[in-house]
Amino acid sequence: MSMVSSVLRRPDGLPAPRALRPSLGDFLALLWAALVGSVILAPVLVGVWYFMGGVALAVVWAAWLVLASVFVARGLANALGRSIQGWREPTAEERAILHAACVRVCVAAGVDPERYTLRVARGTRNAHSSGRSVLAATADVITGPTAVGGVELEAMLAHELAHHRHGDLILAGPTWWLLLPLAFVDTLSRALAAVPLIGSRLALALWFPFRAVVFPFRTLSCLSGRPRELLADRFAADCGYARPLEHFFTDSADSARGGSGGLVAWMLDTHPGATDRITALRNADA
Protein backbone atom coordinates (compact mmCIF):
# COMPACT_ATOMS: atom_id res chain seq x y z
CA MET A 1 0.00 0.00 0.00
CA SER A 2 2.83 2.43 0.72
CA MET A 3 4.05 1.98 -2.85
CA VAL A 4 0.59 2.91 -4.08
CA SER A 5 0.50 5.82 -1.64
CA SER A 6 3.77 7.15 -2.98
CA VAL A 7 2.44 7.08 -6.53
CA LEU A 8 -0.80 8.80 -5.53
CA ARG A 9 0.76 12.24 -5.48
CA ARG A 10 -1.02 14.75 -7.61
CA PRO A 11 1.12 15.80 -10.59
CA ASP A 12 2.13 19.45 -10.69
CA GLY A 13 -0.42 21.72 -12.32
CA LEU A 14 -3.43 19.47 -11.71
CA PRO A 15 -5.54 21.23 -9.11
CA ALA A 16 -7.84 19.11 -6.97
CA PRO A 17 -11.53 20.01 -7.04
CA ARG A 18 -12.53 22.03 -3.99
CA ALA A 19 -15.65 19.91 -3.50
CA LEU A 20 -16.93 16.60 -4.81
CA ARG A 21 -20.65 16.72 -4.22
CA PRO A 22 -23.53 19.20 -3.84
CA SER A 23 -23.65 21.29 -0.69
CA LEU A 24 -25.76 20.49 2.34
CA GLY A 25 -27.91 23.49 1.49
CA ASP A 26 -28.68 22.01 -1.93
CA PHE A 27 -29.83 18.79 -0.31
CA LEU A 28 -31.93 20.70 2.22
CA ALA A 29 -33.44 22.80 -0.55
CA LEU A 30 -34.28 19.60 -2.42
CA LEU A 31 -35.98 18.19 0.68
CA TRP A 32 -37.88 21.45 1.18
CA ALA A 33 -38.98 21.36 -2.45
CA ALA A 34 -40.16 17.76 -2.01
CA LEU A 35 -42.10 18.71 1.10
CA VAL A 36 -43.69 21.78 -0.44
CA GLY A 37 -44.48 19.95 -3.66
CA SER A 38 -46.06 17.13 -1.68
CA VAL A 39 -48.23 19.56 0.25
CA ILE A 40 -49.41 21.25 -2.92
CA LEU A 41 -50.07 17.87 -4.52
CA ALA A 42 -51.96 16.70 -1.43
CA PRO A 43 -55.42 17.29 -2.93
CA VAL A 44 -54.48 15.21 -5.95
CA LEU A 45 -52.97 12.49 -3.78
CA VAL A 46 -56.04 12.42 -1.57
CA GLY A 47 -58.16 11.97 -4.66
CA VAL A 48 -56.00 9.06 -5.76
CA TRP A 49 -56.31 7.51 -2.33
CA TYR A 50 -60.09 7.99 -2.29
CA PHE A 51 -60.65 6.41 -5.67
CA MET A 52 -57.84 3.91 -5.90
CA GLY A 53 -56.67 3.16 -2.41
CA GLY A 54 -53.64 3.65 -0.26
CA VAL A 55 -51.29 1.56 -2.35
CA ALA A 56 -52.04 3.62 -5.44
CA LEU A 57 -51.44 6.78 -3.41
CA ALA A 58 -48.07 5.48 -2.27
CA VAL A 59 -47.12 4.44 -5.79
CA VAL A 60 -48.10 7.79 -7.34
CA TRP A 61 -46.36 9.79 -4.69
CA ALA A 62 -43.24 7.62 -4.83
CA ALA A 63 -43.22 7.79 -8.62
CA TRP A 64 -43.41 11.59 -8.49
CA LEU A 65 -40.46 11.65 -6.10
CA VAL A 66 -38.42 9.09 -7.97
CA LEU A 67 -39.00 10.81 -11.32
CA ALA A 68 -37.04 13.75 -9.98
CA SER A 69 -33.92 11.61 -10.21
CA VAL A 70 -34.14 11.32 -14.01
CA PHE A 71 -33.25 14.99 -14.26
CA VAL A 72 -29.80 14.15 -13.04
CA ALA A 73 -29.15 12.53 -16.44
CA ARG A 74 -26.96 14.66 -18.67
CA GLY A 75 -29.27 14.91 -21.70
CA LEU A 76 -32.37 15.82 -19.74
CA ALA A 77 -30.53 18.22 -17.48
CA ASN A 78 -29.00 20.02 -20.46
CA ALA A 79 -32.36 20.21 -22.24
CA LEU A 80 -33.93 21.59 -19.08
CA GLY A 81 -31.16 24.15 -18.78
CA ARG A 82 -31.77 25.25 -22.34
CA SER A 83 -35.48 25.75 -21.81
CA ILE A 84 -34.90 27.78 -18.64
CA GLN A 85 -31.78 29.74 -19.60
CA GLY A 86 -32.44 30.09 -23.31
CA TRP A 87 -28.90 29.86 -24.63
CA ARG A 88 -28.15 29.48 -28.33
CA GLU A 89 -25.58 27.81 -30.56
CA PRO A 90 -22.49 29.95 -31.11
CA THR A 91 -21.59 31.29 -34.54
CA ALA A 92 -18.43 29.99 -36.20
CA GLU A 93 -16.34 32.87 -34.86
CA GLU A 94 -17.80 32.61 -31.36
CA ARG A 95 -17.28 28.84 -31.34
CA ALA A 96 -13.61 29.20 -32.33
CA ILE A 97 -12.97 31.69 -29.53
CA LEU A 98 -14.98 29.78 -26.91
CA HIS A 99 -13.44 26.46 -27.86
CA ALA A 100 -9.89 27.80 -27.63
CA ALA A 101 -10.60 29.34 -24.23
CA CYS A 102 -12.36 26.19 -22.98
CA VAL A 103 -9.48 23.94 -24.05
CA ARG A 104 -6.94 26.14 -22.27
CA VAL A 105 -9.04 26.10 -19.11
CA CYS A 106 -9.37 22.32 -19.31
CA VAL A 107 -5.60 21.97 -19.68
CA ALA A 108 -5.15 23.97 -16.48
CA ALA A 109 -7.92 22.11 -14.63
CA GLY A 110 -7.09 18.59 -15.82
CA VAL A 111 -10.47 18.04 -17.45
CA ASP A 112 -11.43 16.62 -20.84
CA PRO A 113 -12.77 19.53 -22.92
CA GLU A 114 -14.85 17.20 -25.10
CA ARG A 115 -17.14 16.57 -22.15
CA TYR A 116 -18.42 20.12 -22.17
CA THR A 117 -20.84 21.85 -24.48
CA LEU A 118 -20.30 25.50 -25.33
CA ARG A 119 -23.19 27.88 -25.82
CA VAL A 120 -23.90 31.60 -25.94
CA ALA A 121 -25.99 32.91 -23.06
CA ARG A 122 -28.57 35.68 -22.96
CA GLY A 123 -27.83 38.87 -21.13
CA THR A 124 -24.72 40.97 -20.86
CA ARG A 125 -21.24 40.57 -19.51
CA ASN A 126 -21.77 37.23 -17.81
CA ALA A 127 -21.16 33.52 -18.00
CA HIS A 128 -22.98 30.60 -16.45
CA SER A 129 -22.94 26.85 -16.22
CA SER A 130 -26.10 24.92 -16.88
CA GLY A 131 -27.39 21.37 -17.02
CA ARG A 132 -24.64 18.84 -16.44
CA SER A 133 -22.12 19.91 -19.05
CA VAL A 134 -23.00 23.29 -20.55
CA LEU A 135 -20.69 26.29 -20.32
CA ALA A 136 -22.15 29.50 -21.65
CA ALA A 137 -20.94 33.06 -21.95
CA THR A 138 -22.79 36.12 -23.21
CA ALA A 139 -22.05 37.25 -26.75
CA ASP A 140 -20.67 40.63 -25.70
CA VAL A 141 -17.74 39.10 -23.80
CA ILE A 142 -16.83 36.79 -26.68
CA THR A 143 -16.76 39.11 -29.70
CA GLY A 144 -17.39 42.71 -30.53
CA PRO A 145 -16.20 45.97 -29.03
CA THR A 146 -16.87 44.89 -25.44
CA ALA A 147 -15.20 41.48 -25.72
CA VAL A 148 -12.98 40.67 -22.76
CA GLY A 149 -9.35 39.65 -23.12
CA GLY A 150 -8.61 35.99 -23.82
CA VAL A 151 -7.38 35.25 -20.32
CA GLU A 152 -10.42 36.91 -18.73
CA LEU A 153 -12.75 34.76 -20.81
CA GLU A 154 -10.78 31.72 -19.67
CA ALA A 155 -11.12 32.86 -16.06
CA MET A 156 -14.88 33.15 -16.42
CA LEU A 157 -15.09 29.69 -17.96
CA ALA A 158 -12.84 28.28 -15.22
CA HIS A 159 -15.27 29.56 -12.60
CA GLU A 160 -18.22 27.99 -14.39
CA LEU A 161 -16.31 24.75 -14.96
CA ALA A 162 -15.74 24.60 -11.21
CA HIS A 163 -19.50 24.46 -10.63
CA HIS A 164 -19.67 21.32 -12.73
CA ARG A 165 -16.60 19.84 -11.05
CA HIS A 166 -18.01 20.50 -7.60
CA GLY A 167 -21.41 19.02 -8.38
CA ASP A 168 -23.21 22.30 -7.73
CA LEU A 169 -25.74 21.69 -10.48
CA ILE A 170 -26.50 18.01 -10.00
CA LEU A 171 -29.59 18.67 -7.90
CA ALA A 172 -30.87 21.60 -9.96
CA GLY A 173 -32.94 19.41 -12.30
CA PRO A 174 -34.55 17.30 -9.56
CA THR A 175 -35.30 20.45 -7.54
CA TRP A 176 -36.98 22.03 -10.57
CA TRP A 177 -39.15 18.93 -10.98
CA LEU A 178 -40.19 18.93 -7.33
CA LEU A 179 -41.01 22.66 -7.54
CA LEU A 180 -43.30 22.23 -10.54
CA PRO A 181 -46.45 22.13 -8.35
CA LEU A 182 -45.37 25.46 -6.89
CA ALA A 183 -44.82 26.85 -10.37
CA PHE A 184 -48.34 25.73 -11.22
CA VAL A 185 -49.69 27.62 -8.20
CA ASP A 186 -47.79 30.71 -9.34
CA THR A 187 -49.30 30.47 -12.82
CA LEU A 188 -52.72 29.93 -11.32
CA SER A 189 -52.46 32.99 -9.10
CA ARG A 190 -51.54 35.15 -12.09
CA ALA A 191 -54.50 33.80 -14.03
CA LEU A 192 -56.79 34.39 -11.07
CA ALA A 193 -55.61 37.95 -10.74
CA ALA A 194 -57.05 38.63 -14.20
CA VAL A 195 -60.56 37.63 -13.12
CA PRO A 196 -62.74 40.73 -12.74
CA LEU A 197 -63.80 41.91 -9.27
CA ILE A 198 -62.64 38.98 -7.17
CA GLY A 199 -59.49 38.06 -9.04
CA SER A 200 -57.18 40.32 -7.12
CA ARG A 201 -58.48 39.09 -3.76
CA LEU A 202 -58.09 35.46 -4.75
CA ALA A 203 -54.60 36.10 -6.01
CA LEU A 204 -53.73 37.88 -2.79
CA ALA A 205 -55.04 34.93 -0.80
CA LEU A 206 -52.62 32.72 -2.67
CA TRP A 207 -49.81 35.25 -2.54
CA PHE A 208 -49.04 35.12 1.18
CA PRO A 209 -48.69 31.35 1.56
CA PHE A 210 -46.86 31.27 -1.74
CA ARG A 211 -44.29 33.77 -0.52
CA ALA A 212 -44.07 32.03 2.84
CA VAL A 213 -43.05 28.89 1.00
CA VAL A 214 -40.77 30.46 -1.57
CA PHE A 215 -38.84 32.73 0.76
CA PRO A 216 -37.20 30.03 2.93
CA PHE A 217 -36.38 27.99 -0.14
CA ARG A 218 -34.80 30.93 -1.88
CA THR A 219 -32.91 31.98 1.21
CA LEU A 220 -31.63 28.45 1.72
CA SER A 221 -30.51 28.23 -1.91
CA CYS A 222 -28.84 31.60 -1.84
CA LEU A 223 -27.10 31.15 1.48
CA SER A 224 -25.77 27.76 0.45
CA GLY A 225 -25.01 28.96 -3.07
CA ARG A 226 -22.88 31.88 -1.99
CA PRO A 227 -20.07 29.84 -0.40
CA ARG A 228 -20.08 27.67 -3.49
CA GLU A 229 -19.50 30.72 -5.64
CA LEU A 230 -16.45 31.55 -3.55
CA LEU A 231 -15.31 27.94 -3.83
CA ALA A 232 -15.63 28.15 -7.59
CA ASP A 233 -13.55 31.34 -7.53
CA ARG A 234 -10.93 29.45 -5.48
CA PHE A 235 -10.83 26.63 -8.00
CA ALA A 236 -10.37 29.12 -10.83
CA ALA A 237 -7.55 30.67 -8.78
CA ASP A 238 -6.01 27.22 -8.32
CA CYS A 239 -6.00 26.93 -12.10
CA GLY A 240 -4.03 30.18 -12.27
CA TYR A 241 -6.81 32.65 -13.06
CA ALA A 242 -6.86 34.67 -9.84
CA ARG A 243 -5.66 37.94 -11.37
CA PRO A 244 -7.84 37.86 -14.53
CA LEU A 245 -10.88 36.95 -12.42
CA GLU A 246 -10.13 39.78 -10.03
CA HIS A 247 -9.79 42.12 -12.99
CA PHE A 248 -13.16 41.01 -14.35
CA PHE A 249 -14.85 41.51 -10.97
CA THR A 250 -13.29 44.95 -10.66
CA ASP A 251 -14.63 45.94 -14.07
CA SER A 252 -18.04 44.46 -13.24
CA ALA A 253 -18.15 46.23 -9.90
CA ASP A 254 -17.27 49.52 -11.59
CA SER A 255 -20.05 49.12 -14.13
CA ALA A 256 -22.68 47.91 -11.71
CA ARG A 257 -22.49 50.34 -8.87
CA GLY A 258 -25.94 50.98 -7.44
CA GLY A 259 -28.07 50.88 -4.28
CA SER A 260 -27.39 48.26 -1.59
CA GLY A 261 -30.98 46.89 -1.37
CA GLY A 262 -30.75 46.04 2.34
CA LEU A 263 -30.66 42.78 4.28
CA VAL A 264 -33.36 40.94 2.35
CA ALA A 265 -31.80 41.77 -1.00
CA TRP A 266 -28.48 40.49 0.38
CA MET A 267 -30.13 37.29 1.59
CA LEU A 268 -31.74 36.65 -1.79
CA ASP A 269 -28.68 37.46 -3.82
CA THR A 270 -27.29 34.27 -5.31
CA HIS A 271 -23.78 35.66 -5.69
CA PRO A 272 -21.45 37.30 -3.21
CA GLY A 273 -20.62 40.91 -3.94
CA ALA A 274 -17.73 41.68 -6.24
CA THR A 275 -15.76 43.25 -3.39
CA ASP A 276 -16.13 40.13 -1.24
CA ARG A 277 -15.02 37.96 -4.11
CA ILE A 278 -11.99 40.09 -4.84
CA THR A 279 -11.04 40.02 -1.15
CA ALA A 280 -11.44 36.24 -1.06
CA LEU A 281 -9.21 35.87 -4.11
CA ARG A 282 -6.53 38.06 -2.58
CA ASN A 283 -6.70 36.18 0.71
CA ALA A 284 -6.36 32.91 -1.17
CA ASP A 285 -3.17 34.25 -2.73
CA ALA A 286 -1.84 35.29 0.65
Binding site: L14, I97, H99, A100, A108, G110
Partner: protein, 333 residues
Protein backbone atom coordinates in the same frame (compact mmCIF):
# COMPACT_ATOMS: atom_id res chain seq x y z
CA UNK B 1 6.87 22.95 -15.30
CA UNK B 2 4.22 25.61 -15.13
CA UNK B 3 1.20 25.28 -17.33
CA UNK B 4 -0.85 27.76 -15.43
CA UNK B 5 -1.70 30.83 -17.41
CA UNK B 6 0.98 33.45 -17.59
CA UNK B 7 0.25 34.36 -21.18
CA UNK B 8 -1.58 37.53 -22.03
CA UNK B 9 -3.02 36.53 -25.37
CA UNK B 10 -5.04 39.26 -26.86
CA UNK B 11 -8.27 37.63 -27.85
CA UNK B 12 -8.93 37.11 -31.54
CA UNK B 13 -11.72 39.66 -31.19
CA UNK B 14 -9.24 42.27 -30.03
CA UNK B 15 -6.97 41.54 -32.97
CA UNK B 16 -9.83 41.73 -35.40
CA UNK B 17 -10.77 45.07 -33.92
CA UNK B 18 -7.16 46.20 -34.33
CA UNK B 19 -7.35 45.18 -37.99
CA UNK B 20 -10.56 47.09 -38.52
CA UNK B 21 -9.09 50.11 -36.79
CA UNK B 22 -5.98 49.91 -38.97
CA UNK B 23 -8.10 49.70 -42.13
CA UNK B 24 -9.98 52.79 -41.06
CA UNK B 25 -6.80 54.67 -40.20
CA UNK B 26 -5.23 53.89 -43.55
CA UNK B 27 -8.38 55.00 -45.33
CA UNK B 28 -8.33 58.22 -43.31
CA UNK B 29 -4.73 58.86 -44.27
CA UNK B 30 -5.59 58.40 -47.94
CA UNK B 31 -8.61 60.67 -47.62
CA UNK B 32 -6.38 63.38 -46.15
CA UNK B 33 -3.92 62.96 -48.97
CA UNK B 34 -6.64 63.16 -51.57
CA UNK B 35 -8.28 66.18 -49.99
CA UNK B 36 -4.90 67.92 -49.80
CA UNK B 37 -4.25 67.27 -53.47
CA UNK B 38 -7.71 68.45 -54.46
CA UNK B 39 -7.53 71.56 -52.30
CA UNK B 40 -4.13 72.44 -53.66
CA UNK B 41 -5.41 72.14 -57.17
CA UNK B 42 -8.34 74.38 -56.34
CA UNK B 43 -6.33 77.14 -54.65
CA UNK B 44 -3.03 77.20 -56.42
CA UNK B 45 -2.87 78.04 -60.09
CA UNK B 46 0.82 77.43 -60.70
CA UNK B 47 1.78 74.17 -62.32
CA UNK B 48 5.44 73.67 -61.76
CA UNK B 49 7.96 71.21 -60.40
CA UNK B 50 7.65 72.54 -56.87
CA UNK B 51 4.00 71.65 -56.95
CA UNK B 52 4.84 68.10 -58.00
CA UNK B 53 7.48 67.93 -55.27
CA UNK B 54 4.93 68.96 -52.69
CA UNK B 55 2.53 66.29 -53.91
CA UNK B 56 5.17 63.58 -53.82
CA UNK B 57 6.31 64.63 -50.39
CA UNK B 58 2.76 64.42 -49.07
CA UNK B 59 2.25 60.98 -50.56
CA UNK B 60 5.56 59.69 -49.17
CA UNK B 61 4.57 60.97 -45.74
CA UNK B 62 1.24 59.15 -46.04
CA UNK B 63 3.04 55.93 -46.94
CA UNK B 64 5.34 56.28 -43.94
CA UNK B 65 2.37 56.96 -41.69
CA UNK B 66 0.68 53.81 -42.98
CA UNK B 67 3.88 51.85 -42.33
CA UNK B 68 4.02 53.05 -38.76
CA UNK B 69 0.44 52.16 -37.99
CA UNK B 70 0.68 48.74 -39.62
CA UNK B 71 3.90 47.94 -37.76
CA UNK B 72 2.00 48.03 -34.45
CA UNK B 73 -0.37 45.34 -35.65
CA UNK B 74 2.56 43.39 -37.11
CA UNK B 75 4.29 43.44 -33.73
CA UNK B 76 1.12 42.08 -32.12
CA UNK B 77 1.01 39.25 -34.65
CA UNK B 78 4.70 38.44 -34.12
CA UNK B 79 4.30 38.53 -30.36
CA UNK B 80 1.39 36.18 -30.58
CA UNK B 81 3.34 33.82 -32.83
CA UNK B 82 6.11 33.49 -30.27
CA UNK B 83 3.57 32.95 -27.49
CA UNK B 84 2.03 30.13 -29.49
CA UNK B 85 5.47 28.57 -29.99
CA UNK B 86 6.23 28.85 -26.28
CA UNK B 87 2.88 27.38 -25.36
CA UNK B 88 3.50 24.46 -27.70
CA UNK B 89 6.78 23.70 -25.92
CA UNK B 90 5.19 23.95 -22.48
CA UNK B 91 2.36 21.66 -23.48
CA UNK B 92 4.81 19.12 -24.86
CA UNK B 93 6.50 18.98 -21.47
CA UNK B 94 3.16 18.67 -19.75
CA UNK B 95 2.11 15.77 -21.96
CA UNK B 96 5.37 13.98 -21.14
CA UNK B 97 4.92 14.47 -17.39
CA UNK B 98 1.28 13.41 -17.39
CA UNK B 99 2.04 10.37 -19.53
CA UNK B 100 4.66 9.29 -17.00
CA UNK B 101 2.17 9.77 -14.14
CA UNK B 102 -0.45 7.80 -16.02
CA UNK B 103 1.91 4.88 -16.57
CA UNK B 104 2.83 4.81 -12.88
CA UNK B 105 -0.80 4.94 -11.79
CA UNK B 106 -1.77 2.16 -14.16
CA UNK B 107 1.10 -0.01 -12.90
CA UNK B 108 -0.05 0.09 -9.30
CA UNK B 109 -3.67 -0.75 -10.03
CA UNK B 110 -5.37 -2.90 -7.44
CA UNK B 111 -8.18 -5.24 -8.37
CA UNK B 112 -9.56 -5.39 -4.86
CA UNK B 113 -12.63 -3.30 -5.41
CA UNK B 114 -15.22 -5.63 -4.02
CA UNK B 115 -16.19 -3.58 -1.00
CA UNK B 116 -19.92 -4.27 -1.31
CA UNK B 117 -19.23 -8.00 -1.31
CA UNK B 118 -16.78 -7.52 1.54
CA UNK B 119 -19.35 -5.60 3.55
CA UNK B 120 -21.85 -8.42 3.04
CA UNK B 121 -19.16 -10.93 3.89
CA UNK B 122 -18.32 -9.33 7.21
CA UNK B 123 -21.99 -9.05 8.13
CA UNK B 124 -22.43 -12.72 7.31
CA UNK B 125 -19.37 -13.68 9.34
CA UNK B 126 -20.49 -11.65 12.34
CA UNK B 127 -23.95 -13.22 12.14
CA UNK B 128 -22.47 -16.72 11.87
CA UNK B 129 -20.10 -16.09 14.75
CA UNK B 130 -22.86 -14.64 16.89
CA UNK B 131 -25.04 -17.63 16.12
CA UNK B 132 -22.27 -20.04 16.94
CA UNK B 133 -21.38 -18.29 20.19
CA UNK B 134 -25.00 -18.20 21.18
CA UNK B 135 -25.44 -21.89 20.54
CA UNK B 136 -22.11 -23.05 21.84
CA UNK B 137 -21.56 -20.89 24.87
CA UNK B 138 -25.19 -20.76 25.84
CA UNK B 139 -25.08 -17.05 26.58
CA UNK B 140 -27.74 -14.54 25.51
CA UNK B 141 -28.31 -13.32 21.95
CA UNK B 142 -27.22 -9.79 22.75
CA UNK B 143 -24.05 -10.99 24.40
CA UNK B 144 -23.35 -13.27 21.48
CA UNK B 145 -23.75 -10.43 19.01
CA UNK B 146 -21.56 -8.16 21.12
CA UNK B 147 -18.85 -10.79 21.28
CA UNK B 148 -19.02 -11.48 17.55
CA UNK B 149 -18.96 -7.79 16.67
CA UNK B 150 -16.09 -7.21 19.08
CA UNK B 151 -14.09 -9.91 17.38
CA UNK B 152 -14.68 -8.41 13.95
CA UNK B 153 -13.90 -4.91 15.23
CA UNK B 154 -10.72 -6.18 16.82
CA UNK B 155 -9.62 -7.62 13.51
CA UNK B 156 -10.57 -4.43 11.67
CA UNK B 157 -8.69 -2.31 14.21
CA UNK B 158 -5.59 -4.36 13.62
CA UNK B 159 -5.89 -3.81 9.87
CA UNK B 160 -6.30 -0.09 10.34
CA UNK B 161 -3.31 0.07 12.67
CA UNK B 162 -1.22 -1.68 10.05
CA UNK B 163 -2.39 0.76 7.41
CA UNK B 164 -1.72 3.78 9.61
CA UNK B 165 1.81 2.58 10.31
CA UNK B 166 2.26 2.21 6.55
CA UNK B 167 3.47 -1.32 6.99
CA UNK B 168 0.80 -2.85 4.75
CA UNK B 169 3.10 -3.21 1.77
CA UNK B 170 5.74 -5.16 3.66
CA UNK B 171 5.64 -8.82 2.62
CA UNK B 172 5.71 -10.13 6.19
CA UNK B 173 3.24 -7.59 7.65
CA UNK B 174 -0.12 -8.94 6.47
CA UNK B 175 0.39 -12.65 7.32
CA UNK B 176 2.04 -11.78 10.63
CA UNK B 177 -0.80 -9.44 11.62
CA UNK B 178 -3.40 -11.99 10.60
CA UNK B 179 -1.68 -14.61 12.69
CA UNK B 180 -1.57 -12.29 15.70
CA UNK B 181 -5.23 -11.33 15.30
CA UNK B 182 -6.37 -14.95 14.99
CA UNK B 183 -4.23 -16.04 17.93
CA UNK B 184 -5.42 -13.23 20.17
CA UNK B 185 -9.08 -13.92 19.35
CA UNK B 186 -8.58 -17.62 19.92
CA UNK B 187 -6.95 -17.04 23.28
CA UNK B 188 -9.68 -14.63 24.30
CA UNK B 189 -12.42 -17.05 23.27
CA UNK B 190 -10.69 -19.87 25.14
CA UNK B 191 -10.44 -17.67 28.26
CA UNK B 192 -14.13 -16.77 28.05
CA UNK B 193 -15.01 -20.44 27.59
CA UNK B 194 -12.93 -21.36 30.67
CA UNK B 195 -14.62 -18.67 32.71
CA UNK B 196 -17.98 -20.04 31.57
CA UNK B 197 -16.91 -23.59 32.47
CA UNK B 198 -17.20 -24.75 28.89
CA UNK B 199 -14.84 -27.55 27.84
CA UNK B 200 -14.21 -29.91 25.02
CA UNK B 201 -15.74 -29.52 21.59
CA UNK B 202 -17.79 -26.51 22.57
CA UNK B 203 -14.70 -24.66 23.66
CA UNK B 204 -12.92 -25.61 20.44
CA UNK B 205 -15.86 -24.39 18.32
CA UNK B 206 -15.91 -21.07 20.21
CA UNK B 207 -12.16 -20.63 19.64
CA UNK B 208 -12.39 -21.45 15.92
CA UNK B 209 -15.35 -19.19 15.27
CA UNK B 210 -13.74 -16.35 17.17
CA UNK B 211 -10.53 -16.66 15.18
CA UNK B 212 -12.46 -16.84 11.92
CA UNK B 213 -14.58 -13.85 12.87
CA UNK B 214 -11.59 -11.67 13.66
CA UNK B 215 -9.79 -12.70 10.49
CA UNK B 216 -12.85 -11.80 8.41
CA UNK B 217 -13.03 -8.40 10.12
CA UNK B 218 -9.34 -7.84 9.48
CA UNK B 219 -9.43 -8.98 5.85
CA UNK B 220 -12.53 -6.97 5.07
CA UNK B 221 -11.15 -3.69 6.36
CA UNK B 222 -7.80 -4.36 4.73
CA UNK B 223 -9.72 -4.84 1.48
CA UNK B 224 -11.79 -1.69 2.04
CA UNK B 225 -8.69 0.36 2.74
CA UNK B 226 -7.09 -0.99 -0.40
CA UNK B 227 -10.30 -0.15 -2.18
CA UNK B 228 -10.23 3.37 -0.82
CA UNK B 229 -6.71 3.72 -2.17
CA UNK B 230 -7.91 2.18 -5.40
CA UNK B 231 -10.67 4.76 -5.53
CA UNK B 232 -8.17 7.53 -4.99
CA UNK B 233 -5.94 6.01 -7.63
CA UNK B 234 -8.78 5.79 -10.10
CA UNK B 235 -9.87 9.35 -9.43
CA UNK B 236 -6.35 10.62 -9.99
CA UNK B 237 -5.90 8.43 -13.05
CA UNK B 238 -9.09 9.86 -14.48
CA UNK B 239 -7.88 13.39 -13.91
CA UNK B 240 -4.49 12.65 -15.43
CA UNK B 241 -6.14 11.04 -18.46
CA UNK B 242 -8.47 14.01 -18.88
CA UNK B 243 -5.55 16.40 -18.47
CA UNK B 244 -3.75 14.53 -21.25
CA UNK B 245 -6.83 14.71 -23.46
CA UNK B 246 -7.04 18.48 -22.89
CA UNK B 247 -3.35 18.99 -23.64
CA UNK B 248 -3.61 16.94 -26.83
CA UNK B 249 -6.71 18.88 -27.82
CA UNK B 250 -4.85 22.17 -27.51
CA UNK B 251 -1.74 20.86 -29.27
CA UNK B 252 -3.60 19.24 -32.14
CA UNK B 253 -6.50 21.61 -32.69
CA UNK B 254 -6.28 24.94 -30.96
CA UNK B 255 -2.64 25.82 -31.60
CA UNK B 256 -2.66 24.82 -35.31
CA UNK B 257 -5.87 26.86 -35.79
CA UNK B 258 -4.20 29.76 -34.03
CA UNK B 259 -1.12 29.50 -36.27
CA UNK B 260 -3.29 29.31 -39.40
CA UNK B 261 -5.24 32.37 -38.28
CA UNK B 262 -2.01 34.28 -37.62
CA UNK B 263 -0.72 33.39 -41.08
CA UNK B 264 -3.96 34.64 -42.60
CA UNK B 265 -3.78 37.79 -40.51
CA UNK B 266 -0.20 38.41 -41.59
CA UNK B 267 -1.08 37.92 -45.26
CA UNK B 268 -4.10 40.19 -44.89
CA UNK B 269 -1.90 42.84 -43.30
CA UNK B 270 0.59 42.74 -46.17
CA UNK B 271 -2.26 43.03 -48.65
CA UNK B 272 -3.76 45.95 -46.73
CA UNK B 273 -0.47 47.83 -46.67
CA UNK B 274 0.16 47.12 -50.33
CA UNK B 275 -3.26 48.39 -51.27
CA UNK B 276 -2.74 51.53 -49.20
CA UNK B 277 0.58 52.32 -50.82
CA UNK B 278 -0.67 51.60 -54.33
CA UNK B 279 -3.67 53.86 -53.77
CA UNK B 280 -1.42 56.64 -52.51
CA UNK B 281 0.79 56.24 -55.59
CA UNK B 282 -2.30 56.31 -57.78
CA UNK B 283 -3.45 59.57 -56.15
CA UNK B 284 -0.10 61.13 -56.87
CA UNK B 285 -0.03 59.89 -60.46
CA UNK B 286 -3.58 61.15 -61.11
CA UNK B 287 -3.04 64.55 -59.53
CA UNK B 288 0.33 65.01 -61.21
CA UNK B 289 -1.24 64.21 -64.59
CA UNK B 290 -3.95 66.80 -63.89
CA UNK B 291 -1.32 69.42 -63.08
CA UNK B 292 0.66 68.62 -66.22
CA UNK B 293 -2.50 68.77 -68.29
CA UNK B 294 -3.18 72.34 -67.10
CA UNK B 295 0.40 73.53 -67.67
CA UNK B 296 1.60 75.38 -70.74
CA UNK B 297 2.52 73.16 -73.63
CA UNK B 298 6.15 74.23 -73.51
CA UNK B 299 6.61 73.16 -69.90
CA UNK B 300 4.76 69.88 -70.14
CA UNK B 301 7.70 67.67 -71.23
CA UNK B 302 9.87 68.85 -68.35
CA UNK B 303 7.03 68.41 -65.89
CA UNK B 304 6.40 64.91 -67.20
CA UNK B 305 10.07 64.07 -66.77
CA UNK B 306 10.00 65.42 -63.22
CA UNK B 307 6.85 63.47 -62.51
CA UNK B 308 8.52 60.28 -63.72
CA UNK B 309 11.48 60.92 -61.43
CA UNK B 310 9.15 61.38 -58.50
CA UNK B 311 7.25 58.21 -59.43
CA UNK B 312 10.51 56.30 -59.40
CA UNK B 313 11.17 57.63 -55.91
CA UNK B 314 7.72 56.63 -54.77
CA UNK B 315 8.11 53.19 -56.37
CA UNK B 316 11.42 52.79 -54.57
CA UNK B 317 9.71 53.55 -51.28
CA UNK B 318 6.96 51.13 -52.20
CA UNK B 319 9.44 48.34 -53.00
CA UNK B 320 11.33 49.04 -49.80
CA UNK B 321 8.11 48.78 -47.85
CA UNK B 322 6.98 45.59 -49.56
CA UNK B 323 10.40 44.07 -48.94
CA UNK B 324 10.14 45.03 -45.27
CA UNK B 325 6.62 43.66 -45.06
CA UNK B 326 7.70 40.28 -46.39
CA UNK B 327 10.92 40.20 -44.40
CA UNK B 328 8.96 41.19 -41.30
CA UNK B 329 7.16 37.85 -41.32
CA UNK B 330 9.01 35.35 -39.15
CA UNK B 331 9.30 31.82 -40.48
CA UNK B 332 6.29 29.66 -39.67
CA UNK B 333 6.58 27.78 -36.35
Amino acid sequence: MNTQPTHQFASQSAMRRAFDALQEELETVLRHVRSYLVSEEATVAAADTSRLDAYASRVLRAMAEGDERASLVRKEIDSRRSEVAERSTTLGERVAALSASKTQLEDVGDSRVLWPAQALGVLGAVAAAAGAIYLVLGIGVAESVVLAVSGAVFGAAAAYALYSLQLSAAAWAQPATLAVVCSASAVLAWAVAQLADIDGVQSLVAVVFSALNSSVGYASLAGVLATQLEQNRRRLLSQVTNGLAAAHSELERVLPEERAWLEEASAALVEMEQSHHLQARHHFATSASDVIGRAEASTQPSLEAHRDVLLVEIDRALDAHLGKAIRGEPSPA
